[in-house]
């Protein structure tokens, strides 16, 4: 299975410093899968991914930014995985991978949800339909959902409403 994964709400990847922070994160934590939201990049090239990952041992899928915001990038370790297909929709990028020696089938969806309710409903309708169409594998949905999970999350969100933390992590994991 994917041992370590990192999810980063970066608010733009244009600067060298921020790219170096991501690169150090990947190296220090030995990350296998990196999910980035709010990249603000229209095109993600091999050199960009290599700079973020720190080596050539990576493959990627991305959703380009629309206007001045958005942008999702998923980068994963190429040597231990085999990409079957990827899918892109409004607010998410998903990949279907055969991972590890056992070629365990994994679906990893990198989500950056919009704030308005109709867009969120469309997003989840698409994800649910995909989840039930491809239900023979491990599903992992990561990213920024722009949703409140419960009372604890709600209180903490209220306190940090003006000083939002540098990255937001929310994980839903479906396992067999």
């Amino acid at each position: 299975m994917i041992n370590d994964s990192a999810f980063y709400y970066v608010r733009g990847l244009g600067g060298r410093v921020k790219r170096k922070v991501v690169k150090d994160l990947v190296f220090d934590q030995r990350v296998d899968f990196l999910a980035i939201q709010e990249s603000k990049l229209e095109v993600v090239t091999k050199s960009v991914c290599r700079g973020l990952w720190g080596s050539d041992d990576c493959d990627w899928a991305f959703l380009p930014t629309i206007g001045n915001s958005g942008g999702i990038i998923s980068i994963w370790r190429k040597s231990v995985s085999n990409l079957l297909f990827s899918f892109v929709g409004e607010g998410f990028v998903g990949v279907c991978l055969e991972w590890g020696r056992n070629k365990k089938r994994c679906f990893v969806v990198n989500i950056y949800s919009k704030c308005d309710l109709p867009a969120r409903q469309r997003l989840w309708a698409n994800l649910v339909s995909l989840r039930h169409a491809f239900d023979d594998g491990v599903w992992c949905m990561v990213g920024d959902f722009n949703a409140v999970m419960g009372s604890t999350h709600e209180i903490s969100s209220n306190r940090s409403f003006t000083t939002k933390s540098s990255y937001t992590v929310t994980v839903f994991k479906y396992e067999d």
């Binding site: 079957l84 899918f87 892109v88 929709g89 169409a133 419960g150 709600e154």
Partner: protein, 173 residues
Amino acid sequence: MVSRRGCKKKKNKKVVTTALGKSKCLQFVKVVNKGKDSVRRKGGLEGGDTKGKGKKRGVAVDVLAHGGGFLLDDEAGGGDVPSNNFDNGSPRRSGSGLHLILEEAVSLVPETRMANIPGSSRKDLDASRIFSLQRSNGLVFSVRDKAITTKLVAMGDVEVDNNGRRVLDMSDQ
């Protein structure tokens, strides 16, 4: 030499215990006992009156009174109940679309397990699933596996991009 004695700034903070519990941030709140359990906000606010700076203060106190939470856009007008959708492990109200959709999907669509399907059959199945999902809103599939793309070519639903990858654009269907 000027003596600073007696010039110490008076603290405006007071701890107030109301029927809703002990408030944490009462810097802007002043209490005047004007009868039993009456609370008066500093700045001329009284009984829901909102003027100038007092408006924000009044809102802040009201938020605290509702349990310290803020309401989302889709939860506005939901009353005094905090949006605790996962209370006791079950969704209590459909505050956001997420819980509503998941609730319906879990309750209506049974879970099926197809882990024992051999590789080639599984990929044929993948191709048919991708083909069947082509009507979905704005979904774009990029297929790299050769077995799946061969099957999709046979289905006549595949485009090839500049890199030789076979791309299925569902939005164009």
